[in-house]
Amino acid sequence: MIRVALQMLVGDRLKYLGLIVGIAFASLLISQQASILVGLAHQTGSFVRDTSHADLWVMDSEVRFSQDSLSLSDNTLLRVRGIEGVQWAVPLYQGFLKAKLPDGTRMTAIVIGLDDATLIGGPPEMVQGSLADLRQDKAVIVDYNALESKFMMKRSGGRPIRVGDNLSINDQDARLVGTYRASQSFFWEPVIYTTYSRALQYAPRERKLMTYVMVKLKPDADVAKVAASIEAATGLKARTNDEFIALTRDYILKETGILINFGLAVGLGFIVGTLIAGQMLYNFTLDNLRHYGALKAMGAGNGTLVIMNLIQALTVGVLGYGIGLGLGSLLGQLVASAGLAFRMPWQVPVLCGVAILIICLIASALSITRVLKLEPAIVFKGG
């Protein structure tokens, strides 16, 4: 009878396609929005992920996310270096500073200052020049992928800045000596790398300027114990890379409303899918009520009819899920290549599949209720 159920379903082409399209739309909406949410959440940790030379990040106890530049006193570095289990510790500056391109185009940029001696904390991949070029006079490097957008000189005909161009940061000279490639960041501001000492020259005068201390542990050191020791000794916060990424992600998702917005979009996909699939499946059942009645009269039990109905719902569910997920992935590839956030780990298809399964069960529950209440005597009421 399963084949009969499928033939009933496939035979009504319009409703069959309508059901698949409805569920595919829900699947597309749920998978795509969930993937964008995951992509955005992933991007919030790109800075920490790209700067993963260290085992621990030491920061002000009130830091809420990776771009929350709260300063530390200079002696923090020495205190951290003195804690047992620490192999080395280097300073990192991060601040939002005013920058001006050669043609006068102005912007606010995130300036990151790397330890002068080691350049630890630098970007993962250089495209033009080398990281050591930062040791040249007034040297800075910028994101290669941002040349055509964030570092475009709009006042002089739209040319991006090039290696060798002079720019200024907080009215002080800087010279582009290279470009790097980093992960797409959640934060819009362009990122400029330089050395720690030069970054302090660019930064406005403040009593405390160091943003982070990056800590590498000795091979046999216990990360949790060292982190606790640092926190106890300095009163600061010490976090591993994963913890810092999670801290940043959770803060941004909660405070920006992204979670609610994308959650609503996913919920909307679920509701729309349920309504479309439910209504069309119910209409399909109503259209076939006489046939279900005939089957019931001929000896098909309620169990058989329930299975037939579930098979029909699950068939359109599986097809719609696959098509929606495929389209979602395709669209995701397109937006991802354009630099937008899209990430589809295995959990997204699983979540989407569970949602579609629930949609199918809710939709078929309406139809099944109707079929179970159906009196087989309906078949003798003419027609």
């Binding site: 009969v4 006489r290 001929m298 000896g299 078949v379 027609g383």
Partner: protein, 257 residues
């Protein structure tokens, strides 16, 4: 042994108090109401009726007289409120819903006014449905349905969809479906009303030829006086009661009015 298989056996059926007398269907004082309170309508008012093995019984009467309700009670798809109705010695009202369903699947064949063929299934698939409901494999069921379609003259149309068949051919498929599992009771609801006179006549000839047998009983609800000649007996109903029972050959077209 399930009720359906138990009752399918002629030996078991013959042991029933009605079956042993050659009576396949024995209804006494069958009453059926619809609705409740002020909107309550009585469809059957103490119907007494018996149908014998090998007999083709027609139920006739004006619209609303209760003939569809009575055939529904006889077929076990509607519960009566009062009285007694035994089919092959078994009272449906003593069965659970599942037992009734199984009984119908094994013992009752249906022919409907609107054919009720599944439009997306071929003729042979439609005719095979009762066998598949009984759990027979698709391959075996299709093979048997082809044989049955050949018996109703549609051996070459098994792969056709209902929409590719004429009304008469569709009703032949419905008859094949009603007979394919060799049921002992066949109930037909207005089997010729959607057909022209000539086709209706041919369908009834076919029913007489292949559906009627010593171990089988046919009950047909009809308005179509042109087919009364095919009945062994005709029960005329009016206002929920049996007005008369007569020999099919002696009934005029007025009986249906």
């Amino acid at each position: 042994m399930s009720p359906a298989t138990a009752l399918k056996s002629p030996a078991n059926a013959a042991s029933g108090d009605t079956a042993s007398n050659g009576i396949a269907i024995d209804c006494k004082g069958v009453t059926k109401h619809y609705g409740s309170g002020s909107s309550r309508v009585t469809a059957l008012r103490g119907i007494d009726l018996d149908v014998r093995f090998g007999e083709l019984m027609m139920l006739v009467g004006p619209s609303g007289c209760g003939k569809t309700t009575l055939i529904s009670v006889i077929a076990g798809i509607l519960d009566r409120d009062e009285g007694q109705c035994k089919v092959f010695g078994v009272d449906f009202n003593t069965m659970s819903a599942g037992q009734k369903t199984s009984f119908r699947g094994a013992n009752v064949g249906f022919v409907f006014q609107a054919f009720n063929l599944l439009p997306t299934l071929t003729a042979e698939e439609n005719a095979a449905i009762p066998l598949m409901i009984l759990g027979e494999s698709r391959g075996s069921a299709i093979k048997r349905s082809r044989d049955m379609l050949a018996r109703v003259g549609l051996g070459d149309r098994g792969r056709s969809l209902p929409s590719q068949l004429s009304g008469g051919q569709q009703q032949r498929v419905a008859i094949a479906r009603a007979l394919v599992h060799n049921p002992r009771l066949i109930v037909c609801d207005e089997p010729t009303s959607a057909l022209d006179h000539e086709t209706g006549h041919k369908v009834m000839e076919l029913m007489r030829e292949i559906a009627v047998g010593p171990d089988r009983t046919l009950v047909i609800v009809t308005h179509d006086a042109r087919i009364f000649e095919f009945a062994d007996r005709i029960a005329k109903l009016d206002d929920g009661m049996v007005q008369s029972i007569s020999n099919g050959k002696n009934v005029t077209s007025n009986a249906a009015k």
